[in-house]
Symmetry: D2
Subunit: 372 residues, 4 copies
């Protein structure tokens, strides 16, 4: 096998990233090496690309150079000596939360949160490359019927699935507010629709993305830039028999969105806290929004291993859910700068951007998804 | 108001029922009187109509004459002096399990099972009539957008909803076997499909009904008269990665169907026990099917008050679920004998039969559903 | 029966309350009239007694005069014409949240929170009287083995039970922080201990009450006036293998206590939000405390009808839990001012104060509890 | 380190076992080698010792010789090259269900049941020896405060904990029937008592063991050899307000015990199916016992990894539970024949038998537990 590969690498503590030749990763005995077929850009990658304060604090200069990226699908080309369940030739995606098996949360089955968690492409080299390596423990074998552009987005779709289902997966026939018009909010609309949520009210801002939300199954669109908080609240009350929604998914992390969600959820309802505020602590209406409402809040971070993977794979393989419209852009991996540009342009007119190391794979995917 | 009405009455301890003029029910202070718009025939009605051993034992000669029927939708025309939440003019359906508020189960929120439960049309006069009466406590206000032929079938659809969702409502993205091709099994297919079950394997017998199952969303059909138990088992294993299904709904009550379900469910899966065997006790593979499998069995009887009503109403009102194909026959209430005939002919070529006291209502419903 | 009774009545919009002769309540057809055997003082009563801004806003001048009190046990002396399950002679306690059966929450089984909830002694005449009236729907029949001084405190003990158990009742063998040293926090210690919580860390302030906490089963006491937030946090980490507690009960409502709880709970743990801040919104560490922690917050208000009543009755009747130490003071009802004084003196040296209309009942209770 | 050790080995397909010198196990890179401090005899060991039909079928002649035993506690003396969380010197117990990480159940977090499960001492060499080896994945680090005789019984106590708590751990303040008087039933009594079960009715046979049940916390004892099924049923109804128990633990596996449990559980209650019938299928009252009762059955096999370990450790380390009385016999490992004799003598007068390779350890344990 070759020893070198091309990768998108953060080389210095400044905005941007370089297209570099680097060594193909060496794997540990319980790791697997994977040839990338498709990889996609997450908001986290944008933070690192921009080298914003979060990235500076979390990654820091000392760990550079480091390869970006964590949403990925590929084919296993090598397995370590003590790998047990993954085989060369398997099509896998990476659960990007590399857990420490000694964490109490891991011992108790909550693998996705832990004191000593590492994240692919954040705490170690990532997947914007021709090859990447991960521990077997977080490798998920894909159904062969799922094409690489969908296999790679199972990771953010898993966030959405977990956010929609919460800890109890009790959503059938219920009503839901989803805030945000970024890719995970849009995935959430699709998952909610596929899983029997009976009324989906999407709250966002950008026409292009909100239109995607409509196509994916949202029943009502509320625009934050065209309505007041009171108007949005009233709309939700009017469309839920005066009660508010059973479930509110906070997926933006802004003060306004948090206020919306805690007002809009009905008594004894559920709020998913998924969005991450840029500053915290922040004001929450603790009395009226939590205590007197008797509601539950589920802090959702990552994806349940491998519960959400299993559900999403089943839904995708059976054609129960069509998330193709969320993929708005596809590029060759080498053209990653175009991808970051699409992600950051405002007014927003993109959702998920998928990158392909192999131009033939890119062409085939474009054809499947009808992207020009 | 008139004092007399027409009703389908069991007058003597023998097969059949009579079309009789009887008094319109007098209501108690916490009861409501309802003008019937649509009512539908349940298997329980067939037992009573035939006056089989179960009906003889449960109802007995002494309580006759008694009006049949419990699946129903109508408009409230009178409310008792102490009725609190139902108003004249409300469109309601009846939750047919009239609970005793003093039962421990009722005090703990499991209203649908109780030591002193009474069932409409079984333990008291029912709804195959121009008017019927029920306690306010079991009256469910319908969404006005739901037409009467759908409003009446919310009751058996509620059984199906509860059977599919079980106690935890955790079905999204999972795989499921459903046994039986009667109306509740068919409703279960529709609910499962609407609520994100990713693979639905329907096991039944009659071509006409199995074809309905396919239209309602079943992915695979297994015919008990064209396959052995081992072949069915192998099929399920082959279509679930060798594991068996996450959830098996036993909705027939036959020995063969029970065997199928306990074999087909995967380890740590769930079996819904809904079908009622004609004789019990019966042999169950307790070791391999329950203990070593580490599975859960949910005994499902009735509908959760009003959890399943709420979910079904939301799904129906939003058009998320199309159960019209399950309604295979519509007749004037006066033609109830045609309805019972459709229900009992074999090979089976009917699912749900809806009856209408008012011919104009019948005509409108036929038009809506495209039934000739 | 007599037509007049003595009661503790808020007569004017100012601090205090009067010992008045008033009419015995007339009951509605679905209400019951109860002769009070014991009644106890809640923090809410103190708010009303003091006529603080909350009381002024919630009750207002127009509704005066109004009888105070809601924690109560007594004997049913009259039942309305349509009462079904309660009989004259029953020993009952009042679930003080009088729900509206038309609320969606009530229809879905969450009777304790609702849009149109009324609270005994807050929104209508209460139980600091010789007689009081409640709807049958919220009357809980006591086990005859439970003496009146314990029967009356089942209401706040029910708050504690619900706070400890949360929505899922999953506490066995887990670790827990409980904040506050008021009566409900102390009840929570006792419930937690009885229900198998394996480590209980009580965070409070007043020596007298903290000592009660120790007697009721707390393993560790942390004094907010003798430690910094960091010291408390470190203590909890040191005593939970560095992870934090599985469950944190916030029962104070102060900013400091909320901060403590969200820091001290472990990843994927549970916070009970029970305490009511004096002002809200207030700052919450939303990112680190909720989202990244992947924790659940259960807003707890009232008691699950009648789930927590059932559990507490069973625990009390079986002698599994000894909450007598929480009752620090007993007085004749006529001496209610002494009760309010005990409740409000600082440094705090009281927990639950029970009042008895009948001096003989008072004497017997004092003897049973060893109170002088 | 020495290369040879002494062990209790099944050498031939016939009753009994031999005290043999064998090689100390070689460990795989992800396994650990453990010096045994205490090991205890399970019913499964008795099956193998007797070489009954189950043992003949499950183990078979070809795999002999094989070391018996799986309940164990010891000190880690060597770790494989890829072991991550266990260190030499750790005190560990073995979760004896060695799961296959590729099983769907394992991927979904139900590690304790799986298609390709292996059991220590059943499917490979066990722990009745001076040393044993297990994969790190099933090694549980003990709290140092737990002495070896308690550390070894955490495994069967884990069965009991899982059986008592079921899948939801919702037992606080509830009523429970426990059938059987063997060690796991007795542990279940202790766990139920520690975790707030408010009424415990133990159904068994042998005076000696039933007396232990009383000491461990059972409220009522019902003897199967001194009562009819109807008398037992009536007793349970009389002591549960006529409803039956909230939860029934079937821990015997006999037809009579299964009948008892399905009759005694109340409507909407829970049955734990833990006991393994000697022959299956067997008759179950499917209609009345499951469907119409609307109850849940939880098939319980093994222990939740590591949920039940965590809870039990916390309860033991905190002194919340005293299971010492269940340990009725202690012997030197070399005297294992005395242990098997104590386990098999009838009338039964033993519960848990603990064996110690080191005589000094035996002496110390006897002293701690007051065993002569």
């Amino acid at each position: 096998m070759a020893e070198k590969m091309r990768a998108v690498v953060k080389t210095k503590p400044a905005p941007g990233a370089d297209w570099r030749e680097v060594s193909i990763p060496k794997i540990l005995p319980d790791w697997v090496l994977v040839k990338v077929r498709a990889t996609s850009i997450c908001g986290t990658d944008v933070h690192i690309y921009k080298w914003d304060p979060w990235a500076q604090g979390r990654i820091g200069e000392k760990r550079l150079p480091q390869t970006l990226g964590h949403e990925v699908a590929g084919e296993v080309v090598e397995v370590g000596a003590h790998v047990k369940r993954i085989k060369v030739g398997d099509s896998i995606s990476a659960e990007t939360h590399i857990y420490d098996p000694g964490d109490l949360t891991a011992l108790l089955g909550s693998f996705h949160v832990g004191e000593h968690m590492k994240i692919l492409g954040v705490d170690c080299d990532g997947a914007f490359a021709e090859y990447f390596a991960v521990p077997e423990s977080v490798a998920w074998v894909n159904d062969k019927s799922i094409p690489p552009e969908l296999a790679t987005i199972q990771e953010p779709m898993g966030n959405a699935c977990y956010a929609v289902l919460g800890e109890d997966a009790d959503v059938a026939g219920k009503t839901m507010v989803i805030t945000g018009d970024g890719p995970i909010s849009l995935f959430a609309v699709a998952v909610a629709r596929a899983c029997g949520v009976a009324k989906i009210i999407l709250i966002g801002k950008y026409d292009f993305n909100m239109d995607l939300g409509k196509r994916l199954g949202a029943d009502h669109l509320l625009f934050t830039n065209k309505s007041t908080a009171d108007e949005r609240y009233q709309f939700v009350r009017d469309h839920t028999g005066g009660n508010g929604v059973d479930i509110a998914l906070e997926m933006v992390g802004s003060q306004d969105s948090i206020v919306d969600c805690f007002r809009m959820v009905r008594k004894a309802g559920r709020v998913t806290a998924f969005g991450i505020p840029s500053s915290s602590p922040l004001p929450v209406d603790y009395s009226a929004g939590i205590v007197f409402k008797g509601c539950q809040i589920h802090g959702i971070n990552g994806r349940k291993m491998f519960d959400t993977w299993y559900r999403n794979r089943n839904l995708l393989a059976a054609g129960r859910i069509n998330v193709c419209p969320v993929i708005t852009h596809m590029f060759s991996l080498e053209d990653y700068t175009k991808g970051f540009e699409a992600m950051t342009t405002r007014p927003r007119a993109s959702a998920k951007v998928v990158l392909f190391p192999d131009p033939a794979e890119l062409a085939a995917a474009k054809k499947r998804c009808g992207i020009d």
